[in-house]
Symmetry: C2
Subunit: 187 residues, 2 copies
Amino acid sequence: MNKQPEITAQTRKNLIDAFWSLYCEKRIEKITVKEITQKAGYNRGTFYEYFTDVYDVLEQIEQFLIPTLNELPPITMPDNNMGMPVDVFLKLYEQNSKYYSVLLSDNGDPAFASKLKNSTKPMLKQAFSRNYDLDPVEFDFILEYVLSGMIGIMSYWFRQDKILPAENLIALMYDVMENGVMKRLSR
Amino acid sequence: MNKQPEITAQTRKNLIDAFWSLYCEKRIEKITVKEITQKAGYNRGTFYEYFTDVYDVLEQIEQFLIPTLNELPPITMPDNNMGMPVDVFLKLYEQNSKYYSVLLSDNGDPAFASKLKNSTKPMLKQAFSRNYDLDPVEFDFILEYVLSGMIGIMSYWFRQDKILPAENLIALMYDVMENGVMKRLSR
DNA sequence: AATTGTCCGACAACGTGTTGTATATTTACA
DNA sequence: TGTAAATATACAACACGTTGTCGGACAATT
């Protein structure tokens, strides 16, 4: 007999949603299986049919979020003469902001930022592969710097409730990537 | 009657050290009070004389690390005509690398990176205060970008076991801050 | 009617935080 | 200076909550 996908998918979703509403409020350490199942309206035992752990829920959510990056690479390739596709990254961030803004916050998961960076790197490496002059080691360091900066500034943007219009943020990011931060900081 | 500082300081240190050796190996969620006290050679109850929680140990460690930033500001001010004091930041990172490299890793605490950034910002704000042209809101965004990038690249440096000489890393960071990343990425 | 998927209740084991107690060390006073 | 009271430090035991698992009930599929 096959599974009943409609049912299990729904229960799974209910459990994930219950977990997420709790995760938005408090640290994962303080979330119990009891709380999740109570919120979702199931028995505690049912939880273990879907997840091994409370942390497993988070991992499954993250594993669902990462591939969305790799699905868009053909479009996200920087134009031949242009710089970083900051607008695409921001759009991606906004699309999944429900999860991104929390996972990348102070109460989030540092491993998620890493997963995000590591998923993006191959794409950017290929896009910039025509530059043979650059030491591949240095290249990785620069990538780590840019991606950390981008994730940092985008998270900050959300934390500040988007006080800056998206266009301004994109322009700002373009500018600091093209010309560095010093010119902008010290006249 | 006064406390016996030598004794309590030693037990506290023993407990913190035991916690840290565990924290280097696994996620904080999986660390129990029992493990810590066993490793340190104390009764489980003794732990609660010093800390309220396993997480309290981490917080106390972080609270000890943050002020070291504020103790060096007179020196860390960027020279009048120079850029970011990247060398000072790197030195600071290296001095506390035992803790920094772990706290800023995938298994670390995202809140620590925030604390680090927020402790550094006022210092940099003052250093760049002569620039009246810049919108203070934009300024904060740029700071968030640079600091995220710096922390990201320095953590990466440690993660890669410092394959790049420190001088090269400093030069690289200076360059991307002065001139941006694009010139270096795409010739 | 039989089989399998989904969910539930109960159980043992473990970890938590607290409270009362023993031992060692400091202080006060003779 | 020597002794007894006071307190600091560490410990053992307790009640409670959470965890992960296992067998069974009920429903849906074939």
